[in-house]
Amino acid sequence: MNRTSLLAAAMVAAACSGGGRAAAPPAPEPAPAPAFEREQTADQQVAHVLSRLAFGARPRDVDKVRAMGLDRWIDAQLHPEQVDDAALERFLTDNYQTLTQTPAQLETRWPPPGVLANQIAARNRTAGGAAAPMGRADSARLRDAQQGVRLITTEVQGARVARAVASERQLLEVMTDFWLNHFSVYDAKGPRQRYMLADYENRVIRPNALGKFRTLLGAVAKSEAMLFYLDNWESQADSTRPRLAPVGGRGGRGAGRGGAAQLPPQLRRGGLNENYGRELLELHTLGVDGGYTQQDVINAARALTGWTFRGPAQGGGFQFVPVMHDAGAKVLLGHKLAAGRGIEDGEEALDIVARHPSTAKYIATKLARRLVSDTPPGALVARAAATFTRTDGDLRETVRTIIMSPEFFAHAAYRSKVKTPFEVVVSAARALGAQPDTSARAAQIVGQLGQPIYGHQAPNGWPETGDQWMNTGAILNRINFGMVVAAGRLPGASPVGFKDADILQTAARDLQVDGVIAAILGGDASPDTRAILMTGENPLAKAADSTATAPMPSAGGRGGRGGRGGAPPAPAPGVARPFGQLPPLRGLPLIVGLALGSPEFQRR
């Protein structure tokens, strides 16, 4: 205990001494020597941090971490603003056009195709009520909108993968992944949601992923993506409650333009929507057992009424609309919110939930589950929660407490996590030294492995524990993914692109196997695995019906290189074949494929 608090004190001191760092060039101070024994070997520690604080090792990463010193590398990752990432930023700027546009800009440029189609049909309606066929100009507009929506989706998903593969700020990407899942939104919630995703990821989540929790929470609460996804944008005072501004009077939506405020037609009905208020408490802050009541849910929702966003024609973005706001007095988690207040009601509600002790514990638990193990030790969670509380929700320091702990470097934590599909795909690409790729293919594969990007429907996000990711279908898809990569069908990733692979191509089998184990399995494979990679023979297969595991002949053609693009025709047109039949693999690529499909590779 003493040791722990000493360590924590040392860390706070280290963090404070780096006060004005943001603009300064990296000035590596000697990282403090670990004040505890680390159970993992030095090699294991390097592999461990590269699989937990990064999306796996790239070909030269192990050497880099060793040269820099493990603890100094960790410290740099905790300060992403000091890590040069210009190459990735240049790649994104050169290859993507929608990532930096606001939701309003995107929606104005490419309106939702369904809405556009209805507008066109309404305009073309004949006197009899039947719609006339669409003219050429209208068809072109509709096609353009459809292509735009596809482009937006492709880019936001593709850039997620590209950043995770290529960013030097790996811990920041890991934490971005964590918070995007904690504050999960779903791209098919409605036709407008897609326009809001790039803004959400790049402006709301990533800049705050290692910042203050309250700042992150506030940015999420005011984001178009979350306001839309959990319906708060249309939540307003119930008819029995006083409004901050009278309907039809000044202070409503039209007030800024000088007219009398009329509720927009879609808001003339309806009232309080508890959806965001509930998930704010249950999923975003206190946690389901965090000690709140249904009345707290209602009052959180009431405090946040009027938190909405402008339409695209008004430039979009968050706005507080007094005429929608419930101006009555409220009690939230024992705190009184006085009557007659405006936006400060919601701000105070966020203050209250962000600083609630249950929130510290809940966030600490989730972070430790992500970074350490599916069942994180209670003592570690308690220390992380204490850091969270002491630093007023400083996420960098909370993460530091977790990853500089004996528990993080314990044997029990090593390779104890099952990779998510996103981690499988990204870590494979990184192991092979893949270049970031502009196609949608890698993102599609993540989806085919069961974790479509921005595709989790319910607000609780993707599962955090391994048992949820491991089942019959999942493991088969992962094995086939390994074969797809080994066959050279992951764009940007050559199956022989890892370190020294060119030399190994013609080397003896044992050198090949050792090279693959080093590149893909972190230099650590069980003797059984090594033996199977070595011999090219399955001792068990002799007893088995040798045809039993051979692939079935595909009934309908071969899924071509392009995956979806090359989806086969008969007998089931339109059924995507994620992993078409692959040619038999030989030599080094076969060893790569086996390693990617091995049980070891499923862990991090």
Binding site: E279, G473, T549, V575
Partner: protein, 414 residues
Amino acid sequence: MQRRAFVKSGALALVTMGLSPSFLRRAAFGLDLRGAAKGKVLICLFQRGAADALNVVVPFGERAYYQWRPTIAIPAPGLAARSALDLDGFFGLHPSLAPLKPLWDRQMLAPIHAVGSPSSTRSHFDAQDYMESGTPDLKGTSDGWLNRYLATSGTCEQCHPSPFRAVAMAPQTPRILQGGAPAVAMDSLDQFAVRTGGDAAARIEALYRTGSADIIHGAGTEMFEAVKMLRAANPQRYQAEHGAGYPRSQFGQRVRQIAQLIKSDIGLEIAFADVGGWDTHVNQGGATGQLAGRLDDFATSIAALVTDLGDRMEDVVILTMSEFGRMAKQNGNGGTDHGHAGAMFVIGGHVKGGTVFGRWPGLEREQLYEGRDLALTTDFRTVFAEVTARHLGAPSVGALFPGFDSSRPLGIFG
């Protein structure tokens, strides 16, 4: 627990691998195949996009129906070349549902009208979410109700459920099957194999059969057993029986593969497929047109499935659903906008069909929900609970639909 128990039986299966496929299956899964062959199957078919229930099960006996829908209503039976197929003198089926009419006549088809979610939402997303989670207006539910059924029913320490107990013919596990119990999602049966030749598959299998008995090795071992089971069942050589003709559409092919799985006797209990194209805001058509085309594919696929399964339909129930119905009044674009209550079909050999279930609320303005939509008289959970309890024999429906009183079934199963 269960997983570990299975790793053991997997090792047993290794020893018996050279023996006949049926013995292998029995050994590997501890299944009483006679029991499994007789096992009950529920096939859920989801019409995504909100099917227009008023033009699917047509209330031709309602004057107001024709007033709300001057150009898209389905004519009463006999009043046009294509008109409603009379069921009971008041309701009729859309003419494109003709393939289902014989099922009505054989009392295998039970339509339910004015059924759906009590939630007032008209959002596709929200309404599908509620229909699949089984918890209307509760967004936080993380699992689907079919998964809750799997998790609470039919598992025991001694027996091991088939890896194909729950299968979604879909690229991803749908919300309704998400949760703690395993479910397999696949686009097509032939995809369920290691997709490369040579000895790669055998060597990968060896990787999973050695080493520790953790969840990853367990899932891998189980997967290779499942691949062998499916292969032994040989779905490639599948021939539909009794002259069943499946459409070549995606939906038709998915439904066909569900029949294959059922006839393969590999322990399928829950199957799921979905089909889109029901969001008919524009140019919906009437007895012919857009919706008629969707219904044609839908009905032909289901009829082929029933024909193909033959006597097996005694153990099979097909349940169709869509997130909500559509407005009573047609809109300005020859279509219909989002509404409230809808219609469902329950089809099966032991279904007490030949009756349209559910209280009919009427279509006069004051009878409509919020003055515009078909009102709800049956909560969808009533139907789901009845199907799971009466067909699948679920012991505790309360756990599937927390807080819902399912004590008043419609009597779909007599």
